[in-house]
Amino acid sequence: MSKFLKIAAGLAFLASPVMADGFGLGRPALPEEIAAWDLDVSPDGTGLPQGQGDVLTGEEVFADKCAACHGDFAEGVDNWPKLAGGAGTLADQDPLKTVGSYWPYLSTTWDYVNRSMPFGNAQSLTPDEVYAIVAYILYSNDLVDDDFILSDDTFAAFEMPNQDGFFLDDRLETEHAIWRGAPCMEDCKPQVQVTMRARVLDVTPTQAGADADTADTSEAPAAADTSAPDPALVAAGEKLFKKCKACHQIGAGAKNRSGPQLTGIVGRAAGSVDGFKYSKPLQAMAAEGLIWDQTALSAFLHKPKSFMKGTKMSFSGLKDQEDLDAIIAYLASVPN
């Protein structure tokens, strides 16, 4: 490149993007918009809305909205996070890290429950419900008594047990200072022996991956002959099913999670999935001959807790008949 071109290129670089007043792109964020999205809560309580909740209310809300995954006592179901217990285990061989034993700030719990929970229905809780749930989680960890009330006033005074359990990244001093320099190339150790083998443990998934798809297509055409399902209704139902996915699987290879797998549910006898522990009320209704036909499913999914008092299912229900029809059409459309 000639000297002239170099200079020209340099000038062009300097002249192009840098503007004193910026680019004038974007538009002002309105106060209502900022209020809608700026929800984070800091350890000193900055960002908390006004409100309060007590342990007993929290127990009810928790049972309704959280227990399906986290257990009635916040002890965790299956592989879902345990929120309670583990105090004093952090130095053990297998520490139990929960809100009570590990989380350094209460704000983190409030913020997370408020912005990200319940799983599959985030940002649906009122501030008072969040205060109550957090109060109940503290109670489950034996950190407060059953008459405890959490509010924006009392919040900042609460200190979590593991608040001082953290230290800042010190790798440069404790690791980098040691693990450097010219490494050994010859005679680095006298002998090499196998001390552990992955194959002995045998927890690696097998490579049988792509088979599921081919199996699916061969069985797909064998659909019901009575009335062809409306594809739009099925598609709408599939979208709605996202609400259910946290607890239920459906289709080839579906497994029981915190809810039973739902393949072939429409028209099937209630309580008949192998290996699932049904609630007592469901077992009782199954014994009376409950069949999950269109009518029964529709009634159950409309108001689960009215249809079946004491059901383990924490879903609050679908209001619209259209939604109910859609989800049942979807459930019926998935081949066994």
Binding site: A29, S116, F166, H176
Partner: protein, 420 residues
Amino acid sequence: MTARTSRRAFLKSSIAAGAAGAAAAASGAAGATPDPLITQVQPWASGLGDGVDATPYGLPIEHEGDVIRRNVEWLTADTISSINFTPIHALDGTITPQGCAFERHHSGAIDLRKEDYRLMINGLVDRPLVFSYADLERFPRENHVYFCECAANTGMEWAGAQLNGAQFTHGMIHNMEYTGVPLRTLLEEAGFDPTGKWVFVEGADASSNGRSIPMEKALDDVLVAFKANGEALRKEHGYPVRLVVPGWEGNLWVKWLRRIEVMNAPVESREETSKYTDTFADGSSRKWTWEMDAKSVVTSPSPQAPITHGKGPLVITGLAWSGRGAITRVDVSKDGGKTWETARLAKPGERMALTRFYLDTTWSGQEMFLQSRAMDETGYVQPTKAQLRAVRGLNSIYHNNCIQTWWVRANGEAENVEVS
């Protein structure tokens, strides 16, 4: 002549498993009988192939159908909040195709249209702003190749050798060429207050996955990216916009980025306190461990990529990377760390990007304990698992960058092991 000797050597070798056996039979026949694949006109040499547009957007040919992301089901409660693994054992070069690059979601991969996309900057700024996707495309943009590694990559191996395959032990990583706008440009556009020492970034999905990033890093090299490997981000990688935080743990690379808040203190969100912190043997925990230290792994041979050709010429290859700069050297050991040879880097190491290494060697047909050891421009040398454990204990979970060992047996099969 070389070819002939090596073929003879190959035939003498006793390998007989699976495809290797078939291949051996075919080339064995080649010595005496002409190969019909050559002497007979094959269908593909006579008839016609697919027309253009047979696949308007192509997938890999079906014969590569096993080169896919895989999940380890027992790791998490549900695939919606889970992780899968890049098939690094079957890839070469350094760029990871988006379609097989590992995914990590906390509330599932959401469907967010460009038209519905909004990015807000608020907090300690002169002008809180909202950008549309189209706005972002009007800022000067840059291209950079960076690796993204989950802090939990190799995390299952802390307490011992567990998963049998480079995909599972080291596959929470990908490396792409990103196109995007420097975060600094957007912060300047909003007139950020220099007293604000942190930015809090969050996504539009239900998990929101908020993280706090020091302002120094935000102004240095963080990108607000909307393209990867030349095309739009895939849904599972945060379409239409994600954050790229070079060299730092993947959890900070917020997908579906919707808000950036300038703050004077970190939020201490769930993802930066209860997760992604490293618990030591005494029960205390190290936090703000953002940089991913230098690390490497032999991708082939490895448990999912055994040697199928018997003794003779062998390419040992793998990947190396460092979140603190460029890889300067990779050594390979065949004897579990007694002796080391320096591997060939395919290209000089690039900062915060994957580096491919090769050791072009001759295999004796005897068992090997294959290891690789990376060094970066800071002079740091990748540690052994024993060295890491001496500092951090067994419960650290995250940030495991130890030297990996593959035990390659005489039949060419390999296994994940720990050695003394």
